[in-house]
């Protein structure tokens, strides 16, 4: 294990972390404002990737694909909200979990029926092809750096939006005490649709960005969804700041654990069992970290409600 490898995997981890943040941000905001648990949020990420990949293939341009996929993801989110989710706000979490689980079953299958089970490919845009030299003899793809930059930029914008604008103040107030905000004459339903659509679009954006480097397949949303849940549980449900820190943490632990543990264990074990134990332990690491953090702080790192 060299320093170069560590650097590359660290960057990969951060980049996975910002993608996770884009998904988790919508999830945590929606939960914070409306007390609504939406399993179908991962599907938004998947739809974003599918829209991006097929629209880019259709228009012949990554950028047009990206530009068209965002409103498409937004529309999908709003349609789902109107059709299903808004009837669930008054219901208990169990009902919300099950109904949104039904939405996942439907949409995963719909994607399979429309695009087939085989993974789609989305080419990296010409502008972001090639690599930068991190160290002599060590290239890192420009596109991955672009993801990192775009994710951080969106996170910054989101922070400005939530912390420095009137809408953001309403969202934060709604997360702390929604009935009071409604009593003060704010249209909480309208506010929620806004937050919801915005969250769906962020997840869709993450999907498009991930499409060129990950395979676009019907189950891709589920993996991300569960890690996004881990993120918001660690970060404290409803907290955007917590989600950001937890997302980077989870991204780095997941990536480094999976790639480095087999090598680390080889120092103390034979090669073959080290590879196996490393792979098993690497995939458990995030959840062990979550358990440890929750054992100390059951409400997450940055709890919103007291």
């Amino acid at each position: 294990m060299s320093l170069g490898l560590l650097l590359v995997q660290g960057l990969n981890g951060l980049q996975f972390g910002v993608l996770l943040f884009l998904v988790a941000a919508g999830l945590t905001l929606v939960f914070g404002v409306m007390d609504f648990i939406n399993l179908a949020h991962g599907v938004q990420y998947m739809l974003g990737a599918y829209f991006g990949a097929s629209l880019a293939a259709w228009t012949g341009s990554f950028w047009l694909g990206l530009a068209l996929a965002l409103p498409a993801a937004l529309v999908c989110g709003l349609v789902l909200e109107w059709l299903v989710f808004r009837h669930l706000y008054e219901r208990d979490h169990l009902s919300q979990v099950l109904a949104t689980f039904g939405v996942i079953l439907f949409l995963n299958q719909a994607v399979r029926a429309i695009w087939g089970s085989a993974p789609l490919q989305m080419p990296v845009p010409a502008l972001l092809e090639g690599g930068v030299t991190l160290m002599p003899g060590l290239q890192y793809p420009v596109y991955r750096i672009a993801i990192l930059a775009a994710g951080l930029a969106v996170a910054g914008l989101l922070w400005l939006l939530v912390e420095r604008t009137r809408i953001g103040a309403l969202v934060r107030a709604g997360a702390t005490h929604a009935p009071m905000v409604a009593a003060l004459g704010v249209d909480i339903r309208g506010l929620f649709m806004l937050v919801f659509g915005f969250g769906a679009m962020l997840a869709g954006f993450a999907g498009v960005m991930a499409a060129p480097i990950l395979s676009v397949d019907p189950g891709m949303g589920d993996t991300v969804l569960i890690l996004a849940f881990v993120v918001i549980v660690i970060g404290g449900i409803g907290s955007v700041r917590g989600a950001f820190i937890a997302a980077l943490l989870v991204g780095v632990i997941e990536t480094l654990g999976r790639s480095l543990l087999p090598d680390l264990l080889r120092l103390v074990m034979a090669a073959s069992p080290a590879r196996q134990a490393g792979a098993a332990l690497g995939s458990m690491l995030v959840y062990i970290a979550m358990a440890l953090i929750l054992a100390v702080r059951p409400r997450g790192l940055f709890p919103v409600r007291g």
Binding site: F31, I37, V84, H87, L88, R91, H93, L94, S95, V97, L98, A99, F101, G102, V103, I104, L105, F106, L107, N108, Q109, A110, R112, A113, D222, I226, F229, V230, I232, V233, I237, Q276, A279, A280, G282, S283, M284, V286, Y287, I288, M290, A291, L294, A295, P298, R299, G300
Partner: protein, 302 residues
């Protein structure tokens, strides 16, 4: 419990009423095994108010206990069953100790995450087939005898264990322990005020449900003579939770009704179209929106 008793009687008679051939018996075994799993989950959701979205992992651990022992050529039920139940119960105890410290939506997410952890661990077990799964050398033996190879014997074993689980759950919920558990579900603050800290009760219930799920996993592995990580997938946990809710939280027998309805509906839709989930998903949404109280509630009303 009337509906459940009628159902159990029907299952007992089924092999002699034209459902005795291989395909029907396989389907009925699946129904009974999943019903048992649903009963163990009902104890958590309906009994203790603990909405777990990681229950399939406990089944999977029981199934993988069969695999690990099978690989070591140990197939006798006297070893397999205690190991499977112990492993699943222990996993439930350890993860439950963390998960039950939280509640509500965090509990749902944490059980989901722990389930996923078990799933990825199973996928990385290259010695037992990894993602591709593991085909058993043979079914579990009882006292060295290969009784479970006989389809009819297996049918009645599943039925007997289902009846036992249902009865055991009924007794448990009616006991002092069960009453504390239900009190903690209704109002944890009041339960604590009268001197019962819910935590240990919930943890014990979680472990018991885990051990029963482990036993169910043994049956599941035996039914297919094959185990794969997909047994632990979170969608399976979602399916189980749906069975419980479809049946209804009003009474323990809801779990059995829900499992039967779920498996038969799935089977029927699967015959109609390859994309049966396109129908199944919306049906799930509709049943949540409009069928409050589940099948048990419908039976009571009408």
């Amino acid at each position: 419990m009337r509906a459940a008793l009628i159902l159990l009687a029907a299952l007992a008679a089924a092999p002699f009423l034209g459902f005795g051939e291989g395909y029907s018996l396989t389907l009925l075994a699946r129904v009974m095994i999943l019903a048992m799993a649903a009963v163990s989950l009902w104890l958590l959701v309906g009994g203790g108010g603990m909405v777990s979205l990681g229950h399939a992992a406990l089944l999977g651990i029981g199934a993988y206990a069969v695999v690990v022992l099978d690989d070591a050529r140990i197939t006798d039920a006297a070893v397999v069953v205690p190991v499977a139940m112990g492993a699943a119960g222990l996993f439930a105890l350890v993860t439950g100790a963390v998960a039950i410290r939280t509640s509500g939506v965090q509990f749902i997410m944490i059980t989901l995450a722990f389930g996923q952890m078990a799933f990825f661990t199973a996928s990385s077990l290259a010695a037992y087939g990894g993602d591709d799964g593991y085909t058993l050398y043979g079914r579990t033996t009882v006292l060295g005898q290969r009784w479970l190879e006989d389809r009819l014997a297996f049918h009645y074993l599943c039925l007997g264990l289902l009846a036992l689980t249902l009865f055991g759950g009924h007794v448990l919920l009616g006991s002092r322990f069960g009453r504390v558990l239900r009190a903690a579900r209704e109002n944890p603050l009041r339960a604590e005020a009268v001197g019962f800290r819910p935590y240990p009760y919930q943890l014990v219930a979680y472990s018991i449900a885990g051990a029963v799920a482990g036993l169910t996993g043994v049956l599941l592995a035996n039914a297919a003579e094959f185990v794969a990580p997909s047994y632990l997938a979170w969608q399976r946990s979602g399916d189980l939770l749906f069975m419980v809710i479809l049946g209804g939280l009003g009474s323990l027998q809801g779990a059995v009704l829900g499992a039967v309805a779920f498996v038969l509906l799935e089977e029927w839709l699967g015959h109609i179209t390859e994309h049966w989930r396109l129908i199944f998903g919306p049906l799930l949404v509709l049943s949540v929106l409009f069928m409050k109280g589940g099948l048990v509630g419908m039976l009571r009303r009408g």
